[in-house]
């Protein structure tokens, strides 16, 4: 037992922080907002610099082209980047690339990995369907075998970044006769393939997501991840890679810090109010409770152990605290706390208000918190199913 972060981890945190301060310009942030995290000209340069640092793959095994570092470095990278709201690799880096590296053919690795590293290729994730959300295995987008490949028909929803991506990582039912979890394959589909239609959906937090439609889309055999019909385990594997930093504390703490700074500068009388100070003290307690669950989960994953209950606890705790911390911060700030990010008078670009509106997605996304609670009960506590 030793709860200290060893010096080399703290040195890494400092290195990431100085890198952030070098690159975090208003222009880059504006571009990121506009493109919802997809690479534009500035972020390509930024990603190039990030790639040179070697952080995107530092925790991968050496034989997969990584640096074999302890995944706690990834945790520190995520926490530090998240505090400053800096992009550090979307699902293309955290899910698609590791899956290609682990499951892909030599041809697929050669075709996609270099392009991902230099930012030319970006993937949108095509998992959810109108009738397959948390119950993902009931997906119905189907692939029919045709000469040299597959003919795909169906519909996906929440295909975030689709309009800015070169490819879609598409979960497809390739064997309609197999059981629910079997008979699914992962197909790599070019977004400009004939038959792919992308329709934007506006979300309440200001972010766009997309619906994607597939009408007789041809996907060549070489773009099907092996094993054929064995896609479910790839999907699960991909989700696992997100989990070391799945629910950061830092971006929650940032709301707190932004609020306190605002009060110090603009409403010192509120900060002097003992009732307000007590509320802030409560938030400090809640942040530490969440930090405990987030680190506990990261340490387990870093050791290569699998405890789904711990990941579920971190996910629930972070997503529900996001709502509580932002609603309380808005209440304390008052009317100014309600100004949206497209109002120049908003607090820190409307960060708190935006996080408030964005909080629902984290509660229901990635497996609803209700499902997570059942996972804790059955798999962590051993309650009867």
């Amino acid at each position: 037992m030793d709860y200290r972060w060893p010096d080399e981890y703290l040195a890494f945190r400092d290195e990431v922080e100085s890198f952030i301060h070098e690159w975090r310009t208003p222009e880059l942030l504006a571009e990121q907002r506009e493109l919802e995290g997809a690479p534009g000209p500035l972020s390509r340069k930024y990603y190039e610099a990030l790639q040179k640092k070697g952080w995107m793959r530092m925790c991968w095994a050496k034989e997969m082209g990584g640096d074999g570092r302890d995944p706690l470095y990834q945790f520190i990278l995520v926490e530090t980047m998240e505090y400053w709201r800096m992009p550090y690799g979307n699902l293309t880096f955290t899910s698609v690339a590791p899956s290609i590296a682990q499951y892909g053919t030599e041809g697929q690795k050669a075709a996609y990995l270099p392009g991902i590293w230099n930012g030319e290729l970006t993937f949108a994730i095509g998992y959810s369907e109108p009738n397959a959300g948390t119950d993902l295995a009931s997906l119905r987008t189907k692939g029919e075998k045709v000469d040299g490949g597959w003919k795909v028909n169906g519909q996906k929803i929440w295909t975030s970044l689709a309009a800015h991506s070169t490819h879609i990582w598409l979960a497809t039912r390739t064997d309609p006769d197999a059981k629910k979890h079997q008979g699914i394959s992962v197909l790599i589909v070019k977004t400009d393939s004939p038959g792919v239609t992308i329709r934007p959906l506006q979300t309440v937090s200001g972010l766009k997501t997309y619906e994607t439609f597939y009408d007789d889309v041809f996907v060549p055999d070489e773009d099907v991840l092996p094993p054929l019909h064995g896609g479910w385990s790839i999907i699960m594997h991909a989700l696992n890679h997100e989990r070391v930093g799945l629910s950061p504390t830092s971006n929650l703490a940032r709301n707190y810090d932004v609020l306190v700074e605002y009060l110090q500068k603009n409403a010192p009388h509120k900060l002097a109010d003992p009732v307000v100070r007590n509320r802030l003290a409560e938030l400090r307690v809640e942040l530490q409770r969440h930090r405990a669950l987030a680190i506990r989960n990261a340490v387990t994953i870093a050791r290569g152990a699998i405890k789904p209950g711990e990941a579920s606890m971190a996910k629930i705790s972070g997503s529900e605290l996001r709502y509580r911390i932002t609603t309380l911060a808005m209440d304390i700030a008052g009317r100014a706390g309600g100004l949206a990010r497209d109002d120049a008078r908003s607090i820190e670009g409307g960060l708190i208000q935006n996080n408030y509106l964005a909080s629902p997605i984290l509660r229901f996304g990635g497996g609803t918190n209700e499902v997570q609670r059942s996972i804790i009960a059955t798999r962590h506590l051993g309650m009867t199913r």
Binding site: M1, L283, R284, V285, M313, I316, I376, A377
Partner: protein, 361 residues
């Protein structure tokens, strides 16, 4: 960053747990609780096991271990709800061993053997941990009253916070000295507690003002450790009960609403475990501040009613009957939530500095 017990620490945990579960049936706990007297026999047995000196130097016969190990000791005793001053004596022992001005080897050796039992006596009628009126005069005579003193009568000595000619400090007082009288209290936790009055009692100064803050931090941390144990067992008993209790043709545990209550209990337990042991580990080498100890106490004091009351909700009437063991952890947990600073008192401490950015790594 390693939040798990070492092999030696796990061994201590397992050994104590097995010993207490085998040797101390809950009915024995009920007996002592009813009479509100400490389990002297268990105390003697623990001295025999060498557990009373866990964090004390080997030179006095102690185990030479740290606060994490002392925490495991407190944790395991609280898991069995036994009526002994584990947390109190550990607090006093660590203060005497690490923060005393002079050499306290003699009394420490007696503590290890179980011949001396020292408990802190700090809080006064004002119920304010920062307000001390008890006074020691130039002749070294103590006058004053201490309230809510845990195990005051089982102790051989009290470690009393008082104001002397050299300022605030900690004083050692013999329980049997003439002029010491006690008045028993009936607390929620059903463990022995008393108001102690000191009239012209000889008192020996053992530590100065800085030690008073350290005493509170340490006692507060051990109280948090006790709360953790109460939540843990309440959850374990609830899971076990809902797995076997059948209604509407299926175990309660199979109902999602029941599972979700249990998951909420579990999140409190798991975050609390991390926070308590992180604090013990940090106190060991002086990394923890008083704010850290207050934060953890606020967190656990808020969590324990949530957890134990959900435990009752899922047990139904069965959990309210005193023949069931659940209630031990409900009452002890709430009692410790009030001890050494309630959630409200600890939040007030945190509220003094809300400007420092919270930790996130």
């Amino acid at each position: 960053m390693n939040p798990d017990l070492s092999e030696t620490q796990s061994l201590l945990q397992t050994t104590m747990r097995q010993y207490l579960e085998t040797e101390i049936p809950f009915d024995r706990v009920r007996e002592h609780e009813e009479k509100r007297v400490a389990d002297a026999e268990l105390w003697k047995a623990m001295a025999g096991q060498g557990w009373l000196g866990i964090p004390l130097p080997e030179t006095v016969g102690g185990g030479g271990a740290g606060l994490v190990e002392a925490g495991i000791f407190v944790h395991e005793l609280a898991r069995r709800a036994v009526v002994v001053p584990g947390a109190e004596v550990m607090t006093a022992a660590v203060m005497l061993a690490r923060h005393a001005d002079g050499d306290e080897s003699e009394i420490l050796a007696a503590l290890v053997d179980g011949n001396a039992i020292v408990v802190p006596a700090h809080l006064e009628a004002a119920d304010d941990l920062e307000k001390v009126d008890a006074a020691v005069d130039a002749e070294g005579r103590l006058a004053g009253a201490k309230h809510y003193v845990d195990y005051a009568d089982f102790a051989t000595h009290h470690l009393v916070t008082a104001r002397g000619t050299e300022g605030l400090g900690l004083y050692l007082v013999e329980r049997s000295a003439p002029g010491v009288s006690t008045e028993a209290l009936r607390s929620t936790g059903r463990t022995p507690q008393a108001i102690v009055t000191y009239r012209d009692v000889p008192a020996r100064r053992v530590a100065g003002e800085a030690a008073v803050g350290q005493l509170i931090d340490l006692a507060r941390t051990f109280a948090s450790t006790q709360i953790l144990a109460c939540m843990e067992v309440s959850l374990e008993q609830t899971v076990a009960y809902t797995n076997v209790r059948v209604q509407f043709g299926q175990p309660l545990a199979a109902f999602q609403a029941v599972q979700h209550h249990a998951a909420n209990m579990c999140m409190h337990v798991e975050s609390s475990r991390f926070l308590v042991y992180e604090l013990l580990d940090a106190l060991e080498d002086g990394r923890a501040s008083s704010d850290d100890a207050a934060l953890v106490k606020a967190s656990l004091s808020r969590a324990v009613p949530e957890v134990t009351m959900l435990g009752h909700q899922l047990h139904g009437g069965q959990g309210l009957i005193e023949e069931n063991d659940l209630y031990f952890f409900t009452i002890r947990g709430k009692d410790r939530a009030l001890a050494w600073g309630s959630a409200e008192e600890c939040l007030a401490i945190l509220a003094r500095d809300v400007e420092t950015p919270p930790r996130w790594l």
